[in-house]
């Protein structure tokens, strides 16, 4: 067990996030436990609004105004991020943890040159001079595959294409060779062909730099070849946590199954209907009693509507866990 | 503020909240706006009934009691002719409201009409009207309106005089109306552009919104679309503009009177009282302080209310 803890880079326990609404606070992330090992790549999957982005933003204390962490701790490299002073936290932001945001159109400052934006983390974390930072910025642009980095460094964000801008974002995230890179749906705003390029880029860089990666997405298919382990989030709770191959081969939670089934396959009959999960996820503050997925679940039983299932191991090794009464029952029956 | 926010939200059940109830809810929480609303209500009451309630006639001179400091008998003291300043300020409220309401109504009518024409019919109307708007807005407007006022006064007075001699109708003797007429006209002439711009922008943006297309696709009549979709959506910003406009008109009127081109003595107006007070303020500061303070209060009240309305009615674009 101790060896396991030592290998932990990020360890989140009982994280609860609430949003302030006019009807009072509403829970959006409900006491989740999450961990990332050193060198591991974790995929965090879920529909929009399930709390996956908020979870990651909360680690760096970057939540918007009316949203805040009410419970839980988040240890990074043995230190609690929630209890750090602002000064300590600033060192972690961009230094130990790199961030890549969803929309490269709006996440880059429109009135600053690319090079200056890229130089900032180098200047504030590495204490580089402007000139050193500039040289390093050029190298970083080359690293993320931007052609002609010497000229591009002078460009403004609007002069680059969406894919190029996202490469710049990644370069910013990687600037100080962080131990952990958090990528928040970095491909959502991009064309499909560009999406694959970005995934390949991160895959290559991860091996080169030996860092851990958390990749947030709603697209299970996209990250199949990238991540080691997947955590599936639904309405602010973790419903399934498994090594990626295991998850694809043997999804346990009905929600995960629904997600996987909704990916169209080439082998499907051309005229067949796409599978989709009926209904919509509950709004924050309006979650049903019992399992939050119960109203949409094809396997829902009485117990699901009155009790909340816990995340329990479903495989012998214990590396595959799911929060579902139906799964437990099936295993007991077996 | 925390006290206000700690109150339980009054929306226990989940009925869809109407735009207006929602706006009222937000306005109620803005203490400055409520203060403004209260002051305006008080002033409006004063304007309507005040002149019947004051202890003195606003023109009543008492040469025995000239330039008195504020006392119980004369709340704001008396002026150089022994007139009760409080009664004059009260009557001045009526002048201020009369000007503000009439001017804003005229300006709103002109602005809405021109803005709607520009928005609905497009070029060439649009281009000409917007050019006029730009021209009117880009000239230092106070200057223009003072010029209009100053130069039209004599000819109109002469014309009235001529009409009187011709008809002997006592109506043409009433020269007080000349002041009002001129003030109304010239102020409306520079106050319409914001309304025109606003209405045009609203018409253009609302016309192109998907829900109008959707309503048309549903086969709703133009009248229903107009009443149910266009008007409610355009009304919010217009209400904000009117609230600000009323305050501006009040200040503008007193500015005219201050420069001697507005409502002329003996009709009391805050502006001409300030102007008179300015000459003697070192000896009788109350003559300046009383009208100036009331004008300031009124202007601040409209400013607070307008700002609160803006936040309440345009929650997303709140400034």
């Amino acid at each position: 067990m101790s060896a396991k803890t030592e290998n932990r880079l990020l360890d989140v326990k009982g994280l609860t996030i609430e949003i302030e609404t006019r009807r009072g606070p509403a829970v959006v992330v409900d006491g989740i436990d999450l961990h990332v090992d050193k060198g591991e790549t974790l995929g965090v999957v879920g529909e929009s609004g399930c709390g996956k982005s908020l979870t990651m933003l909360s680690l760096m204390r970057l939540l918007p105004n009316k949203i805040r962490v009410t419970q839980g701790e988040a240890h990074f490299d043995g230190r609690d991020l929630q209890k750090m002073s602002n000064r300590e936290l600033r060192k972690v932001r961009g230094g130990d943890i790199g961030f890549v945001f969803q929309d490269p159109m709006t996440s880059l400052n429109p009135v600053m040159r690319i090079g200056d934006q890229l130089a900032e983390p180098l200047i504030y974390h590495r204490g580089m001079s402007r000139r050193e930072a500039r040289t390093r910025a050029t190298e970083l642009l080359r690293l993320v595959g931007i052609p002609g980095p010497e000229e591009r460094i002078q460009a403004y964000p609007h002069e680059l294409s969406g894919g190029m801008r996202q490469r710049v974002m990644i370069a910013i995230g990687l600037a100080c060779e962080p131990k952990l890179l958090i990528a928040d749906e970095p491909t959502t705003a991009l064309d499909v062909t560009i999406q694959a390029q970005i995934v390949d880029l991160v895959k290559g860089l991860r091996e080169k730099l030996g860092m851990s990666v958390v990749w947030i997405t709603h697209d299970l298919a996209l990250i199949a070849g990238l991540v080691d382990r997947v955590v599936v989030l639904y309405a602010g709770t973790i419903v399934e946590d498994a090594p990626v191959d295991e998850l694809y081969a043997n999804p346990r939670h009905p929600y995960t199954r629904g997600l996987l089934a909704s990916i169209p396959k080439l082998s499907d009959a051309p005229a067949s209907r796409l599978n989709s999960i009926g209904g919509t996820p509950p709004e924050p503050g309006r979650r049903p009693e019992g399992c939050p997925f119960a109203p949409r679940c094809p396997l829902a039983m009485d117990v699901c509507r009155s009790h909340v299932p816990k995340l329990e191991p479903v495989s012998a090794a214990g590396s595959h866990r799911a929060a579902c009464f139906a799964v437990e029952k099936a295993r007991e029956a077996a | 503020m925390s006290v206000v926010q700690a109150q339980p939200a009054p929306l226990a059940e989940e009925a869809p909240v109407s735009l207006w109830r929602d706006a009222w809810y937000r306005l109620k929480r803005n203490r400055l706006a409520i203060f403004g609303l209260f002051v305006i209500a008080l002033l409006a009451f004063t304007a309507l009934f005040g002149p019947y309630l004051t202890p003195y006639d606003f023109l009543g001179q008492d040469l025995e009691a000239r330039n008195q400091a504020p006392s119980l008998a004369h709340l704001f003291g008396t002026d150089d002719l022994g007139r009760d300043v409080f009664s004059r300020v009260v009557y001045g409220t009526r002048t201020a409201f009369l000007v503000a309401v009439v001017v804003t109504t005229i300006a709103l009518a002109i602005g809405t009409t021109l803005g709607a024409i520009a928005g609905f019919f497009g070029n060439p109307f649009d281009r000409v009207i917007m050019w006029l708007t730009d021209v009117t807005m880009s000239v230092p407007n106070l200057l223009l309106v003072v010029v209009i006022n100053a130069s039209l006064k004599t000819p109109i007075a002469q014309w009235m005089e001529a009409r009187y001699l011709e008809t002997l109708n006592p109506f043409y003797r009433e020269t007080v109306w000349i002041d009002f007429l001129l003030v109304f006209g010239s102020m409306a002439l520079i106050s319409w552009p914001p309304y025109a711009r606003l209405v045009r922008a609203q018409v253009l943006s609302i016309r192109s919104r998907p829900y109008i297309t959707a309503a048309q696709a549903l086969g709703l009549s133009n009248r229903i679309i107009l009443m149910r979709y266009v008007v409610p959506n355009a009304l919010g910003p217009l209400i904000v503009a009117v609230s600000a406009g009323l305050g501006t008109a009040m200040v503008l009127e007193s500015a005219f009177s201050f420069l001697g081109v507005g409502v002329n003595p003996p009709t009391p107006s805050w502006g001409n009282m300030i102007s008179d007070g300015l000459r003697v303020w070192q000896h009788y500061p109350h003559l300046l302080a009383a009208p100036a303070a009331v004008l300031g209060l009124a202007s601040v009240a409209f400013s607070f209310l307008g700002d609160g309305l803006n936040d309440a009615l345009n929650p997303r674009g709140s400034k």
Binding site: M60, L62, N65, R90, K91, V92, R93, G94, G95, F99, F101, T106, S107, L108, N109, P110, V111, E120, P121, Y124, H125, Y156, H158, M169 | M1, L32, V135, S138, V139, P140, L142, L143, V147, A150, S151, L152, P155, G247, V251, S254, A255, F258, L259, G260, V261, I274, S275, G277, L278, W281, Q282, A289, A292, L295, G296, S299, V300, S303, F304, K319
Partner: protein, 318 residues
């Protein structure tokens, strides 16, 4: 660039001509007889001798139709002749030249003061959104906005005398570095400050919700650098566009401030000309006022691409 400036002038000319024609028409149809006005103070009772007046009118071309006279006025204007004052007989150009520096210096100082005071205050308000400090700043701004200069000026004078007895009433002009400039400057800057505080606050709040501010924080950039480099820079763009509006407020306010504090600038000239129906002066001042506003707007358009690199490409591609 030069072509752009020239084009802006070309667009401005018809609109200012329209305004001047309106003023000229008011003078032509509304005001009293200019000849009478000229000779009202002249010896020999010329003003009451209709025959001589007619003779002068004819020789001055004042019996011609309106359009012809206006055309003649504009023609003179193009040649730099603003005409003569009806009351003093002095050249309008000389009068304006004597008065303008006072007003320009005052206006410039007011703009600088506005920028120095209002932008930081607006920023502080926005960074403390919906907290006490924000309410105080915003409330004060609304208050300043609502208090007219001719109310604020006298009241401040009263306050100054009460607070510091023995101090002379600040009256008159002694240049920018004279102590007497302080009060009129403050009063003149009230409304622009209020305007810019609110504008800055709104812009900062908008920028604060932008993703790139979050990016800057995620990079570990210190808060003070985030405030200056990432928030203030984009905020300057919408704030600078208000320059034209500020110019109008200042031109309007100068009339009262100069009157109240006895400054020999364009504002006081305006009031004097108005009370005397001195139309050549009024026309010249209208022209200058409109010119100032136009120049401010032009300046904004030239500055805009320097502040927002996206505007450069938008213009180029046009």
């Amino acid at each position: 660039m030069l072509r752009y400036v020239a084009m802006r002038f070309a667009i401005w000319i018809p609109s200012v001509l329209l305004v001047m024609m309106a003023v000229y028409a008011l003078a032509f149809y509304g005001a009293g007889d200019p000849i009478k006005l000229i000779f009202l103070r002249a010896p020999g009772d010329v003003a009451y001798n209709p025959e001589r007046i007619e003779a002068i009118r004819e020789s001055a071309g004042l019996n011609k139709p309106f359009i012809e006279q206006f055309g003649y006025y504009v023609w003179n204007l193009i040649q730099g002749d603003f005409g003569n004052s009806l009351t003093s007989g002095r050249s309008v150009w000389a009068m304006v030249k004597a008065a303008a520096p006072v007003s320009f210096k005052l206006a410039l100082c007011a703009i600088v003061l506005t920028a120095l005071v209002a932008i930081p205050l607006g920023m502080i308000a926005a960074l403390n959104q919906n907290r006490r400090l924000d309410y105080i700043i915003l409330g004060s701004a609304l208050f300043l906005w609502a208090i007219p200069a001719y109310v604020a000026g006298p009241l401040l004078m009263v306050g100054l005398i009460v607070l510091l007895p023995g101090v002379n009433v600040p009256y008159g002009w002694g240049g920018v570095f004279d102590i007497r400039i302080i009060l009129p400057l403050i009063v003149l800057a009230f409304q622009p400050i209020a305007l810019i505080i609110r504008q800055t606050r709104a812009a900062v709040i908008e920028v604060l919700s932008e993703d790139f501010v979050r990016t800057a924080r995620a990079k570990g950039v210190p808060e003070i650098v985030v405030a200056i480099k990432h928030i203030l820079r984009p905020v300057l763009t919408p704030v600078v566009t208000q320059l034209g509006l500020i110019m109008i407020t200042i031109v309007n306010g100068a009339i009262f401030v100069e009157l109240v504090f006895g400054l020999p600038g364009l504002g006081r000239l305006t009031v004097k000309a108005l009370t005397n129906s001195d139309y050549p002066v009024i026309l010249a001042i209208t022209l200058i006022g409109s010119f100032l506003v136009m120049i401010s707007n032009l300046l904004v358009d030239i500055l805009y691409p320097l502040l927002d690199p996206r505007a450069v490409d938008a213009k180029r591609s046009r």
